[in-house]
C-alpha cells in the first residue's frame, strides 16, 4: 500500500498512463500516415511526412516502454495476452517494420513509381497499425477464451476479428485520423492547411459516428464493461466529455487555434483510455469461458517488492522523459521547412 492504494493498482495506473502516452504520440503519426494518400502533390506529401520526421521514432519508443511496463508489472497478463493474440501481434510487427522501411526508403529515389509504392506502403501500414491497435483493445475489453493455467483455448486469428473488435478498430483509426489531422495543422500552412481543415471535419464525423455506435454496442451487448457505469452513473460524464471535446475541435481549428485543437484531440485520446481503464479495472483480461479464469491485476501482478522498485524507477524516470520530450518538441515547433536532412 502506498497512499492508501495497493501496488498493483498503482502499476495499473502507470501502465495505463504509458499506453495513453503512446496512443497520444504514435496516434498522431499513424493518423498523419493514414491521411497521406489524400494529399496529391509531391511537395505536400513530403511536408506531411517530414512533419512527423523528427519524432516518429521516439514515439514508438513509448510502445517499447509500455510493453516493458506491462511485462514487468503484470507478467502473467503479458505472457497470456501476447501468446493468445499471436497472429494479430505478428501482423502489427510486420506493419511497424514496413512503415519504417517506407518512411526511410521513400525519398531516396526520384522515380514516380518508387515514391508511389512507398507512399502506399506508408499509408496502408499506418491505417492497419491504428486499426490493429483498436482490434487489440476491443479484444481486451470483450475478453478472450482463457482456460485453466492461463492457456488460450480459442481458434485464433478470425475470432479476434469479431464485430466489437472491428468497431473499436474503426473507432481507433478515426480517432487517430482526427488527431493526426490536428497535428498536421500545427505543421502546415497555405492550401495544405485549408485542405486539412476539410479533411478534419470528415474525420470528426466518422469518429463521432463510430464512437457512438461502439458505445451503444457496449451498453447493449457487453455487460461486464457497463457495470462500473451503472453502479456509478456519475461516470457517464467521461463519455459525455469525449463528445464535447470532439465537438470543440472543428471550432478551434476554424479559428486557427490549432495548438488548442491538438490538445483537445490528445485529451479525447486520453479520455478514451480512461474509459477503457474504468471498464476493465480490476480485471486485465476477462475469460469468456469462465469468470474464474479471468486475469485480474492481482493475479497478474509481480510481487510488491518488485512493483515498489519499479515505481521508484518510474518516479525518477518520468520527469526526465517528459523533460526531454518537451525539449525535442520545442526544438522542432512550428511549420515544416524541408532541408537537406529531410526525408
Amino acid at each position: 500500500m502506498f497512499l492508501g492504494i495497493d501496488y498493483p493498482t498503482w502499476w495499473f495506473l502507470v501502465v495505463g498512463g504509458l499506453f495513453s502516452g503512446y496512443a497520444i504520440l504514435d496516434g498522431f503519426d499513424f493518423g498523419a500516415g493514414a491521411w497521406h494518400l489524400f494529399f496529391r502533390k509531391e511537395e505536400n506529401r513530403r511536408i506531411a511526412l517530414n512533419a512527423i520526421g523528427p519524432v516518429w521514432d521516439g514515439n514508438e519508443v513509448w510502445l517499447v516502454i509500455g510493453g516493458g511496463a506491462l511485462f514487468a508489472g503484470f507478467p502473467v497478463m503479458y505472457a497470456t495476452f501476447f501468446s493468445s493474440l499471436y497472429i494479430p501481434f505478428m501482423l502489427f510487427l510486420l506493419n511497424i517494420i514496413l512503415r519504417a522501411i517506407a518512411i526511410e526508403f521513400r525519398g531516396k529515389e526520384p522515380m514516380l513509381w518508387w515514391r508511389r509504392t512507398w507512399d502506399i506502403t506508408y499509408s496502408v501500414s499506418s491505417i492497419l497499425l491504428a486499426f490493429l491497435l483498436g482490434v487489440v483493445i476491443g479484444n481486451v475489453l470483450r475478453g478472450i477464451q482463457i482456460g485453466p493455467d492461463y492457456q488460450y483455448q480459442g481458434d485464433g486469428f478470425f475470432e479476434f476479428l469479431n464485430p466489437y473488435a472491428l468497431l473499436t478498430g474503426f473507432t481507433t483509426l478515426t480517432l487517430f485520423m482526427v488527431h493526426g489531422a490536428n497535428y498536421l495543422l500545427l505543421k502546415t500552412e497555405g492550401r495544405l492547411y485549408a485542405k486539412l481543415q476539410l479533411l478534419l471535419k470528415k474525420g470528426i464525423i466518422a469518429f463521432i459516428l463510430s464512437f457512438a455506435i461502439t458505445t451503444l454496442y457496449t451498453l447493449i451487448f457487453i455487460e461486464h464493461l457497463t457495470v462500473v457505469f451503472k453502479e456509478n452513473p456519475v461516470l457517464f460524464i467521461v463519455p459525455v466529455l469525449v463528445f464535447l471535446s470532439v465537438a470543440n475541435i472543428p471550432r478551434l481549428a476554424s479559428k486557427r487555434k490549432y495548438r488548442a485543437a491538438f490538445l483537445f484531440s490528445s485529451l479525447v485520446t486520453a479520455l478514451l483510455m480512461v474509459i477503457v481503464a474504468l471498464e476493465l479495472y480490476p480485471q486485465l483480461l476477462v475469460s469468456t469461458i469462465d469468470d474464474a479464469y479471468s486475469i485480474s491485476i492481482y493475479d497478474a501482478a509481480s510481487s510488491d517488492q518488485s512493483l515498489k522498485i519499479m515505481l521508484t524507477i518510474a518516479v525518477i524516470g518520468t520527469p526526465l522523459v517528459l523533460g526531454y520530450t518537451y525539449f525535442v518538441y520545442k526544438t522542432f515547433a512550428g511549420k515544416v521547412k524541408l532541408d537537406e536532412h529531410s526525408y
Binding site: Y78, A79, Y152, G317
Partner: protein, 458 residues
C-alpha cells in the same frame, strides 16, 4: 518438440539480425562523441564534416535497431509465455529501467542529433549527441543485466509450482550485479565499440583507396584506429574475465566451449579443432593443459568436464559451441594483431602509403560483427538446456497455446521482411557512402532555404 524448435529458430534469427545494429549504434555513437567533441575543442571544420556524415549512418543503424528491437520485446510474450511469467518479476524491472532510462533518452535526443544541426547551438547539439550515446550504453546495461541473470540468477526466490512457478525479486542490486553481469557487460560494450570503429575504418579506407575525401578520411582513420586498438586489447581482458566467470558459474558451458569431456582431468586448450560428440574426441591443434593453465596458472589442475553432468543437464551441440567460441577468439587475436600493426604504421607515418593495409582495413569491418554474433551464439547455446540456468528448461519455457503453423507463418514472415530490411540497409548504407562527407564544398549558410527552393523547382 517441433514448436520448441521453431520458436528457438525464430528467436535466434530475429535476435541475431537485431544484433547487427545496436552494436553499430553504440560504436558509432562513441565515434560521434569524439568527432563532435574534437570539433568543439579545435573548431576545425573537418571534424564537423565527419560528425555530420556519421550522424547520417548512425540514423540508419539506429532506426533498424528500434524496429527489430520491438520485435524482440514482443517475442518474449508471444513465443515464450511460460518464460515470461517465470522471469517477469525479475526481468521486468530491468526491462522497465531500460525503457525509461535508456530508450527514452536515446530517442528523445535522436531528433535533435539528426535534424537539429541548424536549429540548436553547437554545444546543445553536443549534449544531445552525448545523450544518445549514453542512452545506447544504458540500454546495453539493462539488457545484459537481464541476460546475465538468466546465466547466473541471483537476488530472487522461487514462488509457486509447475506452470505457476516464478522467480520473485528479493534484492534488486543483487539481481543487477549478479555474478556475471559486470564482465559480460564490459565484453559487450567493447564488442560494440569495435563494431563501430571498424565500420568507420572500413568506409574511410575505401575512400582512400578510391582517392576520395582524402583529408577527412585520414583524420577519421586516426581517431577510429586509436579507439579500435585500445578496445581490441581491452577485449582480451574482458574476454578472459568472462571465461573465468563461466568456469565458476557455468562449468558445463566452459567445458563445451573447449570440448572438454572427462569429468575431472586437466583440460587442453585448442587453437582450432573439431569435436565429435559421439566419441567425445576433439581433433585439432592444442596446447596440452592450456585451459587448466589459463584458469589456475597450472598445466595439471583438473577442470570439470561435460561428463560430470548427466546428459539432460548439459548442452548437446558441443561442436557448434566449440566452433563459435574459437572463431570469436581467432577474430579477437587477429584484430589485436592488425590494429597494433596499423597503429605502428600510423605512428611511423606509413599507414596511408600501404594499399594492402587499407584493403584489409576495408574488409575487416565484417570481423567484429562476426565475432559479436558467434560470441552470443556460444554464450546462449552453451547455456542450454536451460533458459534460466539451473532453474527453467528451454523445453518448458515456450508458449503452449501457440501452434506450429502459427510460428511457421511468423518465421517465414520474418525471413521475408528481414531480407527486405537487410537489402534496404545495404542499399542506403551504400548510397550514403557514395554520397560521402560534404568536405569539398563549404557548408551552405542557409541550407533550409536552398533545399526548399530545390524541391519546388524539381
Amino acid at each position: 518438440m517441433e514448436t520448441e524448435i521453431l520458436a528457438r529458430i525464430q528467436f535466434a534469427f530475429t535476435v541475431a539480425f537485431h544484433y547487427i545494429y545496436p552494436p553499430l549504434s553504440i560504436g558509432i555513437g562513441l565515434i560521434l562523441v569524439f568527432f563532435e567533441g574534437l570539433y568543439l575543442k579545435t573548431k576545425r571544420e573537418k571534424y564537423h564534416v565527419l560528425a555530420r556524415f556519421w550522424t547520417k549512418i548512425f540514423a540508419l543503424t539506429f532506426g533498424i535497431g528500434v524496429v527489430t528491437g520491438i520485435v524482440m520485446e514482443f517475442e518474449f510474450g508471444t513465443n515464450w509465455a511460460v518464460y515470461s511469467r517465470y522471469v517477469g518479476d525479475v526481468f521486468g524491472s530491468a526491462l522497465a529501467a531500460e525503457g525509461i532510462f535508456a530508450f527514452a533518452l536515446e530517442s528523445g535526443f535522436l531528433g535533435v542529433l539528426l535534424f537539429g544541426w541548424n536549429r540548436v547551438k553547437p554545444w546543445v547539439h553536443f549534449v544531445a549527441t552525448i545523450g544518445v550515446f549514453l542512452g545506447s550504453m544504458f540500454s546495453a546495461v539493462w539488457i545484459v543485466v537481464a541476460n546475465s541473470w538468466q546465466q547466473t540468477p541471483s537476488g530472487f526466490h522461487i514462488v509457486g509450482e509447475g506452470l505457476n512457478a516464478r522467480a520473485e525479486i528479493t534484492d534488486f542490486w543483487a539481481m543487477v550485479f549478479n555474478p556475471s553481469s559486470v564482465e559480460r557487460l564490459l565484453h559487450v560494450w567493447l564488442g560494440a565499440f569495435l563494431a563501430g570503429a571498424f565500420l568507420v575504418l572500413s568506409v574511410h579506407a575505401y575512400y582512400l583507396i578510391k582517392g576520395r575525401h582524402i583529408e577527412v578520411s585520414k583524420t577519421a582513420i586516426k581517431v577510429a584506429l586509436i579507439i579500435a586498438t585500445v578496445f581490441s586489447l581491452g577485449q582480451l581482458m574482458t574476454g578472459h574475465a568472462s571465461a573465468e566467470g563461466v568456469s565458476h558459474n557455468q562449468p558445463a558451458k566452459l567445458a563445451a566451449l573447449e570440448g572438454h569431456y572427462p569429468a575431472n582431468e586437466k583440460a587442453d586448450m585448442y587453437i582450432f579443432g573439431w569435436v565429435n560428440n559421439e566419441t567425445q574426441e576433439v581433433t585439432g591443434l592444442k596446447v596440452p593443459g592450456g585451459l587448466s593453465f589459463l584458469l589456475h596458472q597450472d598445466f595439471e589442475t583438473p577442470v570439470i568436464g561435460l561428463n560430470s553432468f548427466s546428459p539432460e543437464d548439459r548442452p548437446k551441440q558441443v561442436n557448434a559451441i566449440f566452433q563459435f567460441y574459437h572463431i570469436m577468439i581467432a577474430i579477437g587475436m587477429f584484430l589485436i594483431g592488425f590494429t597494433v600493426y596499423a597503429s605502428i604504421q600510423l605512428y611511423r607515418k606509413k599507414l596511408f602509403d600501404q594499399k594492402w593495409l587499407l584493403f584489409i582495413m576495408m574488409w575487416s569491418v565484417l570481423l567484429p560483427q562476426i565475432a559479436n554474433q558467434v560470441g552470443w551464439f556460444a554464450a546462449e547455446m552453451g547455456r542450454q538446456p536451460w533458459v534460466v540456468y539451473g532453474l527453467l528448461r528451454t523445453s518448458d519455457a515456450f508458449s503452449q497455446s501457440v501452434s506450429e503453423n502459427q510460428i511457421l507463418f511468423s518465421l517465414i514472415l520474418f525471413f521475408v521482411i528481414y531480407a527486405l530490411l537487410f537489402f534496404l540497409f545495404i542499399y542506403l548504407l551504400n548510397k550514403k557512402i557514395q554520397a560521402g562527407p560534404h568536405d569539398d564544398t563549404k557548408i551552405q549558410r542557409n541550407p533550409n532555404q536552398e533545399a526548399y527552393t530545390q524541391t519546388l523547382t524539381q
